[in-house]
Structure formats: structure tokens, C-alpha cells
């Protein structure tokens, strides 16, 4: 996320720049209004933080908005300790989105910067229904967590990378066709639906993964694949936790690495961009209908997902619906249930493609 900070108090500005740098934001700190307007006009920031002058605060807001060609910058006003209600109202009316007061407290300042992302998620949520018809198959497009997957995973992946990403809502046009990535397969217990979350890089972004995430530009392909799988795993975890908040329980698989082609139009794509605009990672979400299989307990294998609860003859629950089997649990169930017991499972579609 690119931030322009306008504050004529040098000590305060320096302190805020240090806080932004520590939080891995890409920020430009300026003391002169003209320099700030030029910086905004040169490259539209996601956030403008500005110190409100004692007179003409509303006019300053209008000039800042005028310099922002994208018209999308979030304006965060910094007031003196006790601004008048009138000054506050004028600055907000002129277009500032939020404000905070001196003295600047880092933790509050950084928390205020998260508001734009929250607002985007909230606005998107308004466009999706909050009610599901449980008598019909789940429409994955109604799952808010799925609709906002890109924004959802940005925070966690930024944390792993040690770099604050901003989220683009399209496939990265700058990516070449030499694509590699990792996919985590997720299932809904009882539903014949498979969700795939992929983290994809091109050759340039793969170099970034090696040098930044692995700390070794010459890291092996296997090590880079491992890093991509962990990114996919993290993305899957973020989706799973968010879906849980909507009372939808997803079963997560083990990520696999694959070669990719540019995704079809049926896939939802996002770009995770550095402050300088380089695309670091692409996030792709795909929902697939898939048929469950009926297999004998003796044929259970690693990666299969149970479509229903499994109980023994006494009614004791051995494994709940949605359990993804490991070789250990598959062998245990096979031994407990015997060859004549049949179960419905989702197949381990990608379990055999880990090294593809």
C-alpha cells in the first residue's frame, strides 16, 4: 500500500515514517504541500495522511483530492489535540475519510491505516446475501469469504513476506507465461463442491520468492515450490477461518505444486502488488463441481475426504464428515470397519500431483 504523508513538523513526520517503515508500508514523507501534491499526482497513493493546518483545512483536503487522479485515495487527517467541532466537520465534509489527534500514538495511527481495507471488505459484503437456502446446494458465490478471497489473504501473505501488499482485482497483466504455483484444495463436507485456491508466480516473481522468502536468490526449485505451497496453505487457512465465521466449514487439503497457464475467465483472480507496483503473487480461486465416490473401507487412502460421519456398529463416532484422511487414519478406519463397509468420499484429486 502506497502512502503519502504530509506533515510540516519534521520530528513528528520522521517518527511516523519510522512507524510506517517498521510496519512495512511503502511511504513517502513530505513537509511541503506542493511536494505532496506533486507526489500524489505522479503516482496515486492508496492513503494520504495529512496534518491539518490551523486555517484552511477544508481547502487543503480539496487540493489533495484534486491531485489524486484515481479519486480513490483514502484521506486521513491529523489534528491538534483539541480541534473545534467546526474544524472537524469542515474537513470531513470536504472529503477526509477519518481523523486522529496529536500526540500521534503509533498503534492507533497504524490501526487507522487498516480502515480502507476493512471498508472495501464491508462494501463488498453489502453486495452479497447473508442468507443461505440450506435446502439447495451451496452457491459458493454467496460465501462472502470466497467473494473477497484476494483481500482476505493479502494481510497474511504480507506478513509472511514482510512487505505490505495492496490488492488488485485482476490477473496481473505484467506476468509472463512461465507460470508456476501451488494449489490448496478445499472441500465442503456433504457438498459435491471443491474449492481451489492457488498462489501463482511468473519467472520474475519466482526470483522474488527465492530472494525474499527464502533469503537465497539461488534457492533450488524444490525449496521455491515448498515456499509456494506454504503460501497456498496460509491462504487456505485464511479462507477457512473467514468461512467459519459464516458458519461454513471447509476441509483443507495438503497443497500441491503445479505448472500453470493463464487462468480461464471462470476463475476469480487477484494480484498482490508491492508499493512500487510490482506484482509479487497472483491469487486465483476456482470452484469445481465434483462427484463423490463410494469406496470400501479397505480402499480408503490418503487425501480422501469423508462426505459423512463414520460410526462403528455401536454408534460411536470414529471420524466426522469432512475429515481428510492421512495414511494413518485411512489404515485405522480400514482396520476398524473391514472390507464390507462402504463410505462416500471426495477423491484425493491432487494428492498425486504434489511434484507435478
Amino acid at each position: 500500500m502506497r502512502i503519502v504523508l504530509l506533515d510540516d513538523k519534521k520530528l513528528e513526520r520522521d517518527a511516523m515514517m519510522r512507524a510506517l517503515a517498521a510496519a512495512k508500508y511503502h511511504a513517502e514523507g513530505l513537509g511541503e504541500e506542493s511536494a505532496a501534491l506533486a507526489a500524489i499526482a505522479r503516482e496515486a497513493p492508496q492513503v494520504v495522511v495529512f496534518s491539518v493546518p490551523s486555517k484552511g483545512g477544508a481547502d487543503l483536503v480539496r487540493r489533495l483530492r484534486g491531485a489524486d487522479a484515481s479519486s480513490q485515495a483514502y484521506l486521513l487527517a491529523l489534528f491538534d489535540a483539541a480541534p473545534s467541532s467546526r474544524d472537524l466537520a469542515h474537513v470531513l465534509e470536504a472529503g477526509a475519510h477519518d481523523f486522529f489527534r496529536r500526540p500521534v500514538v503509533d498503534v492507533e495511527f497504524l490501526e487507522r491505516l487498516k480502515a480502507p481495507s476493512r471498508l472495501v471488505r464491508w462494501a463488498r459484503s453489502l453486495a452479497t446475501p447473508a442468507v443461505f437456502d440450506l435446502s439447495a446446494p451451496l452457491q459458493v458465490s454467496h460465501l462472502k469469504a470466497w467473494a473477497s478471497l484476494g483481500e482476505l489473504v493479502t494481510s497474511d501473505l504480507s506478513e509472511i513476506a514482510g512487505e505490505a501488499f495492496c490488492t488488485g482485482n485482476t490477473w496481473p497483466a505484467q506476468f509472463d507465461n512461465d507460470l508456476r504455483g501451488a494449489t490448496i484444495q478445499m472441500s465442503l463436507a456433504g457438498e459435491q463442491l471443491e474449492l481451489r485456491v492457488s498462489i501463482i508466480v511468473d519467472a520474475k516473481a519466482l526470483s522474488w520468492v527465492k530472494s525474499t522468502l527464502l533469503g537465497d536468490p539461488n534457492a533450488s526449485a524444490d525449496a521455491a515450490d515448498d515456499a509456494l505451497r506454504e503460501l497456498a496453505n496460509t491462504a487456505g487457512g485464511a479462507l477457512k477461518r473467514a468461512a467459519l465465521a459464516e458458519n461454513v466449514s471447509l476441509t483443507t487439503g495438503i497443497p500441491s505444486t503445479e505448472k500453470f497457464t493463464v487462468p480461464s475467465a471462470a476463475c476469480a483472480c487477484w494480484s498482490l502488488l508491492s508499493g512500487a507496483g510490482d506484482c509479487r503473487l497472483a491469487v486465483v480461486g476456482e470452484a469445481r463441481q465434483r462427484a463423490n465416490e463410494r469406496v470400501a473401507a479397505s480402499q480408503l487412502s490418503e487425501g480422501m475426504v469423508l462426505a459423512h460421519d463414520v460410526r462403528n456398529e455401536g454408534g460411536i463416532l470414529l471420524a466426522p464428515a469432512g475429515s481428510r484422511l492421512t495414511s494413518t487414519s485411512a489404515a485405522k478406519l480400514a482396520k476398524l470397519l473391514g472390507a464390507r463397509f462402504f463410505l462416500e468420499v471426495a477423491p484425493p484429486a491432487y494428492a498425486d500431483r504434489r511434484t507435478a
Binding site: I160, L214, A223, D226, E230, K240, T252, E302, T326
Partner: protein
């Protein structure tokens, strides 16, 4: 002799991050790639003072590992490090004897606090 920590995760990157943090804190680290591997490593490293364990792993997952460890009578504290946050799963891990649950992405400061809690400096 340095205190030993067993780190179980199928991701090399996570093992490196977690292991690196622990080594910087003065611990020695043994790595395992899944639950089965961890059970084997424990036979040679029964003096481990703490186990940091992923949940979703091939062959034997973290909860299955906890079950086996608990059945063996081991007293080594286990802290789970995972992307999972499902309350049922956390409760199952607690019932199986897990002492803590850390959410990925991995945060060094949380791991440090956890390690210091379960491996007191005086011992």
C-alpha cells in the same frame, strides 16, 4: 547442554523460519516432516523439552501425532502451529494434551514467549 525443541512441519520454509528463531534464542532444533517422522526422531531425542507441531501434514497429521504421543505417556509439552482456527479442532488438540495453539503466519515473538513459558530459563 542446550535445550532441544522438535519442530514438526511438512513445509521446509516453516521449519527454517521456526528453527531459525529457536536457534537464535539458544535452543537446539530437531526437525521432522510429519507425525510418523516425529515419532522416529523422538526415539533418538527423548530429551526434547518442547514440540512445535503443524496440524495438516501427510501420512500422520498433528492430531494423530498428539494421540500417539499421549498414549506413549510422554510429558513433553506440545504447541500446535497451524493455519487452522476451528474451535472444535482446538478443543480436540487440548483434550489430547496440547499446551498451546499458535496461528500461522508464524510470528517469532509469539513463539519466543511460548518457548520461554514451557522451557523456563532456570532449568
Amino acid at each position: 547442554m542446550t535445550n532441544k525443541v522438535l519442530v514438526i512441519d511438512d513445509s521446509l520454509m516453516v521449519r527454517r523460519q521456526v528453527g531459525g528463531t529457536l536457534k537464535n534464542l539458544g535452543y537446539s532444533v530437531v526437525e521432522a516432516v510429519d507425525g510418523l517422522d516425529a515419532l522416529e526422531k523422538l526415539e533418538l531425542n527423548a530429551d526434547a523439552r518442547l514440540i512445535v507441531c503443524d496440524v495438516n501434514m501427510p501420512r500422520m497429521n498433528g492430531l494423530e501425532f498428539l494421540e500417539r504421543l499421549s498414549a506413549s505417556g510422554s510429558k513433553i509439552p506440545v504447541v500446535m502451529l497451524t493455519t487452522e482456527g476451528e474451535p472444535d479442532l482446538i478443543q480436540r488438540a487440548k483434550a489430547l494434551g496440547a499446551k498451546g495453539w499458535l496461528l500461522k503466519p508464524f510470528k517469532p515473538e509469539f513463539l519466543e514467549a511460548t518457548a520461554k513459558k514451557w522451557i523456563p530459563a532456570t532449568t
